[in-house]
Symmetry: C2
Subunit: 266 residues, 2 copies
């Protein structure tokens, strides 16, 4: 299936209005819509309405949506040019705003290219161990993403000793076999909170305040290497980025986030 089907995004009679049922499969173990699923759904709608590919998109998270609720995604094309569209998607349940996404989409014929961030040298997914979770993840988003740690600590080693801020993890969405697109990378990019726990060396994570995706170059790949870099934690907030590499080393996209840091209970 494609990412639109994976997320369950539906078109309506109005090309500017889309919707998505919040199901457990796109939600966290905490029982609310996974931030990356929200940004991914908005990107699917923005690309569908504009007919253009994402360059950059930022989600501001305002409220939680829960399984059983229907998310309306209303697209506005603010500026439409020859090569680019500047757009917004306001995502709400009833009149409660859940997230707002601002984005630029488009393509320019331009001969000069360059990739300056290089993929770290890591073992292939087949030689990495599956990420362990602190409880059952059955039926949640974590059950639908395969995750294998290339650099990171298990629970027993999260003893309060800080790390160097970098976590490396292979990830893939087994249901999405038709190619990794911007919406899929939005789902895979929402891992700064996980990296914050690893960086601080604590059993914790965070809740996203935003999720920003900068799309570079899509190439076919099954697994995506998440190079998670936490910049700092201060005033109760964590900040960082996720470089996302294809198996061949191509930088697909870079995500970045700020989050509210939380310790896990128990």
């Amino acid at each position: 299936m494609d990412t639109r089907t994976f997320l369950g995004v539906q078109q309506s009679h109005n090309p500017f209005r889309w919707s998505m049922e919040v199901t457990p499969g796109i939600s966290t173990t905490g029982g609310f819509l996974f931030g990356g699923s929200g940004l991914g759904a908005a990107i699917t709608a923005l690309e569908g309405t504009s007919g253009r590919q994402t360059i950059w998109a930022t989600a501001q998270y305002l409220s939680y949506a829960k399984p059983g609720e229907i998310l309306d995604i209303d697209v506005t094309l603010a500026v439409e040019g020859h090569q680019m569209t500047q757009a917004r998607a306001v995502c709400h349940v009833g009149n409660r705003e859940i997230l707002t996404v601002n984005a630029a989409l488009g393509h320019r014929p331009f001969e000069v290219t360059g990739q300056f961030e290089q993929m770290p040298d890591v073992p292939p997914p087949s030689e990495c161990t599956a990420r362990a979770f602190r409880g059952p993840v059955d039926g949640t988003i974590n059950d639908r993403l395969e995750q294998r740690l290339a650099k990171g600590r298990d629970f027993d080693h999260l003893d309060g000793t800080p790390g160097d801020g970098q976590t490396l993890m292979w990830a893939r969405i087994p249901d999405v076999i038709e190619g990794v697109d911007a919406a899929a990378l939005a789902v895979l990019g929402d891992f700064v909170p996980m990296g914050v726990g690893q960086a601080l060396g604590v059993r914790g994570g965070g809740n996203s305040l935003d999720n920003t995706l900068r799309l570079v170059h899509l190439v076919p790949t099954e697994w995506v290497l998440l190079d998670i870099r936490v910049h700092a934690v201060e005033r109760g907030f964590g900040h960082g980025l996720v470089h996302m590499f294809a198996e061949d080393g191509t930088l697909l996209a870079t995500a970045s986030q700020s989050c509210i840091v939380r310790f896990w209970k128990g």
Copy 2:
């Protein structure tokens, strides 16, 4: 003076409405409002209305404003909690929207902190040479920012040979002696386009599509080290970040941007 005075941001009788005259001193040599000045003005208004400090703010640039025009900055506080405010600032000239800023502001008492990005080892500003410009910058924003290159190429060495993506530059705003705040860092963070020319090794730069600021920890400093990292240039767009360090090595903030890549004429 403080950053509010530097930019010329004015309060009105309505605490949710601010304005700023677009002057040459906050504009580019191209004759339009510098993106960092726009984000800085919105941050000043958002912090003034909410009474809280920026955690994260993103500007989407939709249109250009020119010297002589008056920018209205309308603030909406979407969600106000005990520790945080989620807010927006819509900045327009007449009914033409120039930029929209989404932001989270606040503070949480939280004992665990960490800085994982470290300041590169560079000579002090006194031992670095002033950045050369391709034409007169008198009276523009570049005339009001002091810039000294610690790692970067002058025009003669921009011969099409790609670099490693990193540019290091000391910057300060001599007029702002009362301390670097979030608005000042918004101005200083708008340097990914400059880094794109350096990374590609071409006489060029870009126009910002967005400007995202993640505020970490404010400490007194005169100079700020801009550690500009261009991730990639593809499809005519450049993507990268700027880690901003105080002279004592503290990570003040991280900015990131996507931009439309342009070659300079002549």
